[in-house]
Symmetry: C2
């Protein structure tokens, strides 16, 4: 916090506030993260046998992210950090579930603070691309594109600072039902984009 | 850039793109900055004699910022870095002009990458506050608030990464005519917030 004539509340989205996000880890002393464990990702990775084998070893944390209680108003902006852990399910790298915005034609900005990976994009017409993320790169997720962060680093977390319209909403269902058309997998020790055999 | 099936354009806000912003300096190899020199800030600092004396020594750079050619659509987001140079006009620290958004009820997020200072906020009812910026602090500029970045550091630039709705627009006129109700000035070697004697 700190400042002059501030409300003193740690979260004040009506008069203004500051929130700390560590420039390397993305973690905050003010705001808690929501957590996604492997068990919550069932069906999202292509190799189901590898998924079951990994889950049998323990329900590991795949990613976490801040979900601040912003007013869901078209003039407000939701923000925070996304932290994707390193790991693989078979050849497929750890990733977020990925989602469209419920208000489809709303964009999002991600600014990479540490780690390395890709932002996998796909729109409803089937246009797919993957944009490389390294520290200091901002990726623009255009209106109408589902987006998924993929951590291709061997050991480091992929940390991004994100901002999107607070009323945009999350549509996870489309991806959960259909999957992504493309995967980011390791081949010969390097990340490549391949077709998803399970896409329907 | 880098990635799979990207358009290869350095700026592609329809299919997605990455843009580099150095995590310390805020500067980009892809995107140029707009620049505000001291001569363009006439009338914005309280001490006009100090302003004239400083300008007589040379037309120094006060701040720069990215203005990317985003579609001005309510679903798009403008983003980039703001870089405020260290310096003072009399006792008043170097700062940005400050502005309301033309679509008044739209927020903005600033994430501080380096340097130190304050985000000075003021709404049309006269509610004023200043929020401290240090590396890793994000400040939420709520709907309806004019916002100005003030660099209170002795030698370092104040660098922030910002995001706002791309159709929000800039209303500089209100501040240019009326000024801010409050100033951030140095007193006994420290920043303080004081009343602006020129506010009208």
């Amino acid at each position: 916090m700190g400042g002059f004539n501030t409300s003193g509340k740690s979260l004040d989205f009506l008069r203004g506030c500051t929130i700390d996000f560590d420039l390397k880890s993305g973690m905050s002393e003010t705001a808690e993260t929501g957590k996604r464990y492997l068990s919550e990702m069932k069906g999202m990775f292509a190799d189901e046998a590898a998924f079951d084998a990994l889950l049998a070893k323990g329900d590991t944390l795949v990613y976490e992210f801040h979900g601040l209680p912003l007013p869901e108003h078209e003039g407000d902006l939701a923000f925070g950090c996304s932290i994707v852990y390193p790991g693989k399910v078979g050849d497929e790298y750890f990733m977020t579930k990925g989602h469209f915005h419920t208000i489809l034609d709303t964009a999002e900005v991600y600014y990479c603070l540490s780690g390395s990976g890709y932002m996998l994009l796909e729109n409803k017409d089937g246009d797919c691309s993957a944009h490389e993320l390294t520290p200091g790169k901002a990726v623009y997720v255009p209106k109408g594109y589902a987006h998924r962060s993929v951590n291709t680093g061997a050991a480091e977390k992929l940390v991004t600072f994100f901002v999107f319209r607070a009323d945009a909403g999350h549509d996870y269902g489309t991806i959960e039902q259909k999957g992504y058309r493309k995967l980011i997998v390791e081949a010969d020790g390097k990340p490549v984009m391949t077709d998803n055999p399970k896409w329907r």
